[in-house]
Structure formats: C-alpha cells, structure tokens
C-alpha cells in the first residue's frame, strides 16, 4: 500500500493530529494561561477547515472499508465550516464558564472526537466501520451534554441522551447482525449485489434504520431531542441539531441510495409515512413552545421531516436537493443557535418572552435571527426557501403530490410559530428587554459566517449546480 494513498484520509488524519496537539498543549500550558487554549483550538481547526477544501482524489482504502469521493469530501468540508462556526460561537461561553473549572480542553477534545466519528461514518465502506463511527460520534456528545453537570438539567439531559443512544445503537447493531446473517458480508459492495427483500433483510433494515433515525430524531425516535436540547449547554444542543443531524441525514442518504437501493420499495413507503409523522409532530410540538432551545429542537424535528421528502425520491435530483437542503439547514440553524448563544452567554436568558423588544435594543442580532427564522420557515428570498422548493420539486417529480401538499401545509404551520418569535423581537416592547450589548469578536465572526452561508446558498445558484454534479456519485 502506497503511503500517499493514506492522503485519502486527510480529514481524519488532520483532525486526529489536532486532537493530539491539543492534548500535548494541555500538558504544557501553564494553568493561568488556559484561555489561550481556545485561541489555539480555533486556529488549528481554522487551518483544518481551510485545508479541507483543497481537492481530494476519489478512492477507497483497506480493501473497501474506507472510501471517499468528491461528494463526501464536499460534505466533510461543510461539516468543518459548521463546526468552526460553532466553535466561534461557543468561545465566549467557554471562556466565561468552563475555564474556571479547567474544563476548556475536554470540550474541544470531545467535540473533535465526535466529529471524527462522523467522518468515519460518512466514509464507512462496511457496517462495522459504520457502527464504530456511530459509537465514536455519540459517546463524546453524552459527555458534553453533561458538561454543566452542576446544573440539574444538564445531568438529566446527559442521562436521557446516553440511555436513548445506547438503546438505539443496540437496536442498530441487532439490525446489522441480521443483514450480515442474511448476506454473509458486512461490506456495502457485497451486500448491494446480494441484497434481496426477504423477511429477514427487511427486519435487519428496519432495526438498522432505527439507529440513524435516532440521530436524525425522526418520529418516534425523537423523544430525547427536546429534553436533551433544553438541558445540554447551547453549544451542544447546536452541535446535535446542526452537525450531528446533518451528518446523519447525509449518511442515511448514502446508505439508502447505494447499499439499500434494492430495498427501495420497502423504504419508500416507510419514509413517506415517517416524513409526515415527523413534520406534523415537530410542528405541533413547536407551536406552543416558550423556551428557545426547546423551540429550536422541535423546529429541527420538523425540518428532519422535510429532509425525508427528498430521500423518498431515491433519484439524483433527490440526492442533490437533500445535500443542498441540509447545507442550508446547517447554516440557518447555526445562525439561530448563534443568536440564542450570544444572548444566553451575555444575559443567561433563554425564553421567548425575554426576546421581546430585542429589535430596539440589539437590532443586528434580531436581524440575524429574523433571517435565520425566515430561512428555516422557507420564506423567500432567503436560502431556506430554495431548499424547500427544490425538495418539493424533487418529490413532485416522482408524483408525490399529496405529500408535497401536506408538506406545504406544514410550512404554513411552521410559518406561524416562527412568526411568534419575530413578533416578540420586532413588534413587542417587552417589560424589561435585554439591554444593548456588544458581542465578542469571535461571536460576531461566527454569526457572520452563518449569515453569509445562508445568503450565498440562496442567491448564488451555481452552488446548487455544483452539488447536483457531485451527487451523480450516488446514483
């Protein structure tokens, strides 16, 4: 094996080195200089993100266990930007709360380890690699959810998360073993050629699917979402809803469109029903929500339902629209969580009521929030509209008119609750509105990237065409 064929794992190797470097830095940095850890991690990860965009060859390693192509490479790049933005947005919170307890470094280590798990999941060429990646991406998040363990909710959130996660991964492993037992291989390539829809493969598929459904929080595997988002630190809620869900959706798409393609007649109706259930449940839950984190949790459940809309098609158009939508979703949600984070780390307020009159005191923040919510709601001309519109077109092109119509009904319901926040910010005066404050430079940069992402994706259409070209790899 050539040494430079390992370059195919560039993302993974770089990230792994960063983790090691941070560990070493932790050992040698004097105690009173721990805050430079944040800058260090940001610089490292910034470089990693930038390097990630250099072109990368296609191919596979270790006899097909690890594979990469341009689409995978592109999506890892998107995840990198997402995580980088997230780190920028979390810097203030870390500095304020976590450094005192000397817990800054673990935050980065655990987060990067989880991202590493995502990479492996995305690049997995067989089920074992996939399963280990799944565990690697989940476990650190549980530790992170418990990061503010001194808060009651944080501990509770971690307990709920780890137990649900354990159950989901157990079920998923069960499914994998069924698929193995019926096909005699764990390699995607082999399975793709031998897979037929017997009772047992169906079972295997359903159980395996549950594991990913948990990560994307599809109904009925969504229960943990709101409780965990609310209890966990905002950065982690943001990570779960943006990076973790985005990556899981991407992986689900890869698996459905390649390995599990022979079962399409099975997963098509399943996803159809789940899409509807997820959209309606998420929206109904979100409708009467007061806590911003819970609110975003439910809204992100509803968004997951929309993602399924593109998956259900199983076409190249579907692939492209899903990736495009997920990318937009990542930026929009990052912007929304960024504002929540900015306000919370400054004032500790997290309720919708506290946002009343925000436009008068902090017009810029409220404008960012408005853009983000419009994008999530799918109101033109922000990127989110195109995301939804393309998804609808993809579904309609397969003749799923009823599904599209019900999805539009859901967009309308969601419009209402996103408006509630906008009303609170722009039209209400508020009894004691959040006073004006200046965010730190990192936070500003983090919000700026998110907003730029939203605008670029919405107004610059060649990006979509690029994604469409890449998506040929999975069809």
């Amino acid at each position: 094996m050539e040494l430079n064929s390992f370059l195919l794992m560039r993302h993974e190797i770089l990230l792994f080195s960063i983790i090691l470097l941070l560990l070493i830095a932790e050992l040698f940095l004097p105690r009173n200089k721990k805050s430079s850890m944040i800058h260090l991690a940001l610089v490292f990860f910034g470089i990693h993100t930038a390097v990630g965009f250099l072109p990368l060859a296609e191919g596979s390693l270790f006899g097909g266990m690890f594979r990469s192509n341009e689409m995978i490479h592109f999506f890892k790049g998107v995840l990198n930007i997402g995580v980088f933005t997230l780190l920028l947005q979390s810097a203030q919170w870390l500095e304020k709360n976590m450094l005192k307890q000397d817990r800054g470094t673990e935050f980065f280590l655990l987060l990067f380890a989880s991202l590493l798990g995502m990479y492996f999941m995305i690049s997995a060429g067989d089920f074992l690699m996939f399963y280990i990646g799944l565990e690697l991406s989940t476990l650190p998040v549980a530790a992170l959810a418990a990061f503010e363990i001194m808060k009651r909710e944080s501990g509770e959130a971690a307990v709920k998360f780890i137990l649900s996660a354990a159950l989901a991964s157990g079920v998923s492993l069960f499914g994998i073993s069924m698929l193995y037992a019926t096909n005699g291989s764990i390699y995607f390539e082999d399975i793709m050629s031998t897979l037929t829809a017997t009772n047992l493969t169906l079972l295997g598929f359903i159980l395996f699917f549950a594991g990913l459904a948990f990560k994307i929080s599809l109904v009925p595997f969504h229960f943990w979402t709101a409780d965990v988002y609310q209890g966990a630190p905002i950065s982690i809620a943001s990570y779960l809803s943006v990076i973790s869900k985005g990556a899981a959706a991407f992986i689900l798409m890869i698996l459905l469109f390649t390995v599990l393609k022979p079962l399409m007649h099975v997963w098509e109706p399943l996803l159809y029903i789940l899409a509807l259930a997820t959209m309606f449940t998420g929206n109904l839950f979100a409708l009467r929500q007061q806590n911003m984190k819970r609110f975003l949790a439910y809204s992100s459940i509803a968004q997951a339902g929309f993602i399924l809309l593109g998956l259900v098609t199983g076409t190249q158009l579907g692939t492209a629209t899903v990736v495009y939508f997920v990318t937009i979703y990542i930026f929009s949600n990052l912007a929304a969580f960024g504002v929540v984070q900015a306000i919370s780390s400054q004032t500790g307020k997290e309720n919708m009521k506290d946002y009343e009159g925000l436009y008068r005191t902090n017009p810029k923040l409220s404008l960012v929030m408005m853009l983000a919510l419009f994008s999530l709601a799918g109101i033109p001309p922000v990127a989110g509209f195109f995301g939804k519109f393309f998804l609808f077109t993809a579904a309609a092109s397969k003749g799923y008119y009823l599904l599209v119509f019900l999805a539009v009904v859901n967009v309308t319901i969601s419009l209402y609750y996103y408006l509630l926040v906008i009303r609170a910010m722009f039209l209400r005066k508020g009894e004691n509105p959040i006073p004006f404050f200046k965010s730190k430079i990192y936070m500003k940069l983090g919000l700026f990237i998110a907003v730029m992402g939203m605008l670029a994706l919405g107004l610059y259409s060649p990006l979509y065409d690029y994604i469409y070209e890449l998506s040929a790899a999975f069809n």
Binding site: A143, I149, E156, I162, A166, L167, S177, R294
Partner: protein
C-alpha cells in the same frame, strides 16, 4: 440446541427491556447490559455455532484442514463487547454524578419537560 439458545436470547432481551422500563436508574443500566449480552449471543448464533473447532489454524499448517467455526462474527462480537463496555462504564459514572446533582435515583423525577403557558 439452537432452539434453546434462541429462547435464551429472547429471555435476555425481554428481561433487558423490562429492566429498562423500570424507574430506577441502576436497573436501567442493568437492562442495557442484559440487552448487550443478548445482542452478542445473537450475532454469535447467527454466525452458526460449532463445538470444539476454534478458528485457530493448527500449529503445523498454513490453512485450515478441518472444519472451523466462523471467525468473523467472533471479531464482530469482540468489538461490540469492548465498545459496550466503554458505553456502560461511562453510563455508570454518569448516573453516579447525576445522582449527586439531581439527588434521586428515580427516573420519573427526572422529567424537566415542556412548561405550559
């Protein structure tokens, strides 16, 4: 024999689920461990069982001469056992810490959830 083994796996799963549905956190973890054991046995069983023929190549030959039991599920299970240990030990510590903060072992008291306005 397989029938009995399958029955045993079912028992492990059933008891695991039952324990998970209890209110005590400790029972919950025990439940997860039981399910993990069940899953491992299941993979083992599905790879077909054979007595007295470990997948070790005899000392003087380069390949297997006689029948041998399937090595791949064994490798799978080994991975699964180790990983689930990681998960379990973390869960145990977490429960311990959570207990300190929340001051209860009762899951039903961990229900900070939607507030209705």
């Amino acid at each position: 024999m397989e029938v009995l083994l399958a029955f045993m796996i079912g028992t492990l799963y059933a008891s695991g689920i039952y324990m998970i549905l209890r209110r005590s956190l400790v029972k919950l973890i025990i439940g997860i461990i039981l399910i993990g054991n069940g899953a491992n046995l299941l993979i083992f069983l599905l790879g077909r069982i054979a007595k007295g023929s470990p997948p070790i190549i005899p000392g003087d030959s380069k390949v297997f001469i006689e029948a041998y039991s399937d090595p791949l599920p064994q490798a799978l299970i080994l991975t699964a056992i180790v990983i689930s240990f990681g998960l379990q030990s973390f869960a145990i510590i977490l429960v311990k810490r959570a207990h300190k903060v929340v001051k209860t072992d009762d899951l039903d008291e961990m229900n900070a959830t939607d507030e209705f306005s």
